[in-house]
């Protein structure tokens, strides 16, 4: 049993809904109690979708449990077929229906419908939303994909690819898809199928006709892409086209897979490199940034923040346990401990301990950052209505890199403002810990009064003089905790039990970056 305040991912059947709702002419019959229909509003409210997701719920109640819930399922599936006339039906259970073991797959097969029926086994007590999405996409591909049409191998044809991974309720999938489609088209590559977003069952049957697969979101598409590689020999991309370097690496990889040259002037809209080099960005140097999100977005954000904007990564983590290895490798390269957890309370503790100046996370980290008084930008699902902006706002490609520059920088205090606060700490308007003036002053984080005597490891104690305590207050609030700890550690290592202003500055020189 796990205590959960907020959850990063929904149950696996919500992942299956994201696939069904992304596709066309597919219907999902879900064996589930009433109440599970809440999931519809994720689509109609958060994403502002103008049609209901193509899902029929059996909505059984307690009184049905003594009777025939299997019959209820069969009726629901039959009615859904008659009403919606889909080209393929996917069927499965939510968490409660899993416990009553009605076997929706077998029941639906017994109906003898004239369309493919794809049963899903999504263990709700072990797995979560992204896994459910990936598994559903894989099952659909396995059922529907046919061997390659040899006519597509004719000489003189342009190289072609599928784009795999975009779904409904994905973080900026709509705009990423537009950006990457334009990029691939500019490279002279034909797009065979985009899936699951916008794909019909007929499109899914043609997946094998492409020369290779672009895996846009590994969380959703990597199982399917690996199966396509094993079965039909289609190679797949590994690079995430996020940030300038990421996009360059992606272009290079695609060019190799397609056997073509990288076209010139493909970077003509990339503004991030100059924005980062322009002198006003100097103040971003070494800004302490904590990053948490799905694995792909978190790893990419760390690379952009550190190597393209010049910040310092002080924490990196993910809730995607399936991608723990990738996060560990990335964290090692920044010399930080990887944080792999789906426990919101653990993330909160880790952020507070790292004392970052900027948090890049999901909507959940936005709350943590707000409470700690630290600026925050959202870079990953779980999604919120604000993550579906009306404007074009991709994360991928060169325009995506431009968007990321703005996203990371705008929550921060501007350079000169930060300097003035550093100089005039008692200023009544530019107070310590207050939000940047262009964002309206939200309540600053209140620091608890510091204890004068602290017990450190091994029971030894150090005391701060009043002057040293005052001097400590002049250090910016977001690094003050760290400065306090470092000074105490420094003092203890030297056998000093009394910290005065001298000790503070000696420690500062010792640990200076």
């Amino acid at each position: 049993m796990q205590l959960t305040v907020w959850t990063y991912e929904g149950p696996p059947h919500v992942g299956a809904m994201r696939i069904a709702a992304a596709m066309k002419n597919v219907h999902y019959v879900l064996h589930a109690p009433q109440g599970d229909t809440y999931a519809d509003l994720l689509f109609t409210m958060i994403e502002r979708r103008d049609t209901r997701p193509p899902v029929t719920y059996t909505t059984f109640q307690a009184r049905d449990l003594g009777g025939d819930t299997a019959e209820l399922f069969k009726n629901a599936a039959r009615d859904a077929y008659e009403r919606f006339k889909p080209d393929a039906l996917i069927v499965g259970s939510s968490c409660t229906a899993e416990l009553i073991q009605d076997d929706p797959g077998g029941l639906a097969q017994a109906l003898d419908l004239p369309i493919p029926v794809i049963p899903l086994e999504l263990p709700a007590y072990q797995r979560k939303e992204n896994w459910g999405a990936a598994e559903t996409f894989y099952r659909i591909a396995r059922t529907l994909t046919r061997p390659r049409d040899e006519a597509t191998r004719a000489d003189g044809r342009r190289p072609s690819c599928n784009i795999l991974g975009p779904t409904t309720l994905g973080f900026r999938h709509r705009d990423d898809l537009t950006e990457i489609t334009a990029l691939l088209t500019a490279m002279g590559i034909e797009i065979n199928v985009v899936a699951p977003l916008g794909a019909t069952p007929a499109d899914m049957s043609r997946l094998a006709d492409a020369d290779f697969n672009v895996v846009l979101y590994p969380e959703v598409a990597s199982i399917t892409a690996s199966w396509l590689q094993r079965t039909y020999g289609q190679k797949q991309t590994r690079e995430m086209p996020i940030g300038v370097a990421g996009t360059r690496a992606f272009i290079k990889e695609v060019a190799e897979l397609a056997g073509i040259e990288v076209p010139k002037e493909i970077e003509n809209r990339a503004r991030l490199p100059w924005y980062s080099r322009s002198v006003d960005s100097t103040y971003l140097t070494g800004k302490r940034v904590f990053i948490f999100g799905d694995a792909s977005h978190a790893i990419a954000a760390a690379r952009v923040a550190s190597r393209e904007i010049g910040m310092k990564v002080v924490g990196l983590g993910t809730y995607s346990r399936e991608f723990a290895r990738e996060i560990r490798e990335a964290a090692a390269s920044y010399d930080v401990e990887p944080l792999i957890t789906d426990d919101y309370l653990d993330v909160e503790v880790a952020i507070a301990a790292a004392a970052p100046e900027l948090v890049l996370g999901s909507q959940m980290e936005r709350h943590i950052a707000k409470r700690l008084g630290v600026p925050c930008a959202v870079i990953s699902a779980p999604v919120h209505v604000q993550d579906f902006p009306a404007r074009y706002s991709p994360q991928m490609g060169f325009e995506g890199a431009n968007v990321l520059f703005d996203t990371f920088v705008h929550p921060l205090m501007m350079g000169l403002e930060e300097h003035l606060i550093g100089m005039f700490r008692g200023d009544f308007e530019f107070r310590d810990g207050i939000a940047p003036s262009h964002l309206g002053g939200s309540a600053p984080a209140q620091e608890a009064p510091a204890p004068v005597v602290v017990a450190a490891d091994g029971g030894a104690q150090v005391a701060w003089t009043l002057d040293a305590e005052k001097e400590l207050r002049k250090i910016p609030f977001f690094v003050r905790g760290k400065a306090r700890r470092n000074t105490e550690k420094f003092a203890l290592e030297r056998g000093t039990t009394r910290i005065d202003v001298e000790t503070l500055y000696e420690a500062k020189a010792h640990y200076g970056r």
Binding site: M1, Q2, L3, T4, V5, W6, T7, E9, G10, P11, H13, V14, P33, Q34, G35, D36, T37, Y38, A39, D40, L41, L42, T44, M45, I46, R48, R49, D50, T51, R52, T56, Y57, T58, T59, F60, Q61, A62, L65, A76, D79, R83, S94, C95, T96, L99, I100, P123, A124, Y125, Q126, K128, L345, Q363, M364, H367, I368, K370, R371, H384, V385
Partner: protein
Amino acid sequence: MSLPLCDDRPGPSLRQERGQREVFCGLTGIVWLHRKIQDAFFLVVGSRTCAHLIQSAAGVMIFAEPRFATAIIEERDLAGLADIDAELDCVVGRLIERRPDIKMLFLVGSCPSEVIKLDLSRAAQRLSQTLMPQVRVLSYSGSGIETTFTQGEDACLAALVAQCAPMPEQAEPSLLVVGALADAVEDQFRRYFEQMGLTRVDFLPARHAADMPAIGPKTRFLLAQPFLSDTARALEERGAIHIPALFPLGVEGTEAWLRAAATVFNVGEQVFQNTISSAIARAEASLHRAREKLAGRSLFFFPDSQLEVPIARFLSRELGMELTEIGVPYLHRRHLAAELDLLPDHVQIVEGQDVEQQLDRCRALKPDLTVCGLGLANPLEAEGFSTKWSIELVFTPVQGFEQAADLAELFTRPLMRRALLEV
């Protein structure tokens, strides 16, 4: 088949329908109950779906540290690899340690916990023994297989009633108002009762765990919400006496509701009029403006909160709207008897739901305004229908004279907005 609901006139008729229900489960009530009882914590014992539902249902992520959480049942709990009681004790221990301010803990049952027959009332007793007097532990079920949306509040309050202290035999009769109300509305009602000379008035739930009212045969209770059948039954089992009344929605409903209490407590007519006359005059003046916008407009209700019948009565009688279909998840005929009597002839009430067929009927009827849940609102808007999301009827202070115009405004706004937009 439609059945008549009134003996003496054509009246509204009732049809029952079965099929896909597009409604929340009772867990959703936690969203407002945890704000109402300020030192209570709600721990759902359920699945990741339950946690995801509460998080998504009302966009509640505005509360960075809410007083609710989910103990998520995992594979090893189901497989018997873990002692589920020990696991629950451990989760509760961690919770209480983190939130020492909690005085009352509700263990809330869910679909999975009901299906595996997890006995939460026994768990609550066991935990109460170790945690009292600091924390009282109660349990109820908000599962979707047993409860629809607002029935979660009913189950919660029924559990609270069982824990309320007995009222001394020699006590004077006292009034109990049952059902969570916005604090501002509760304060208004309290003032009216004071002006009428009623000194012993309690509200259930109280705002703090320690202030829950005593209950006994001298308790006379008014229901503030139409979805409290189990709570009413629990109160009656303890000897409390129900005061039947309209629900306090609109001027007519509020006046009748207050009058029912005034009659039971022998408040003189002059005192009663002095208490309410200025509020009624204010409310009627502001309703007049809304009436101009709503009169003659047709209205269709999808089932949601069980507030549908009293709200339909208000919109039809005080604002002149034309009722088409009134969908309700469940119809409590005794508590709604007075309300049903006031509905116009030939109104179709549909209990239960088959959402696809109901959508077909709604499209055929082309109502001017459709009241529906969040899953249906945007799709219907995209088809050209004006909609009012029903969850707002639960999350907005709408009861009482001073809120009558606010309630009306919830219905005028979608129509005005549609007229306003040029794109």
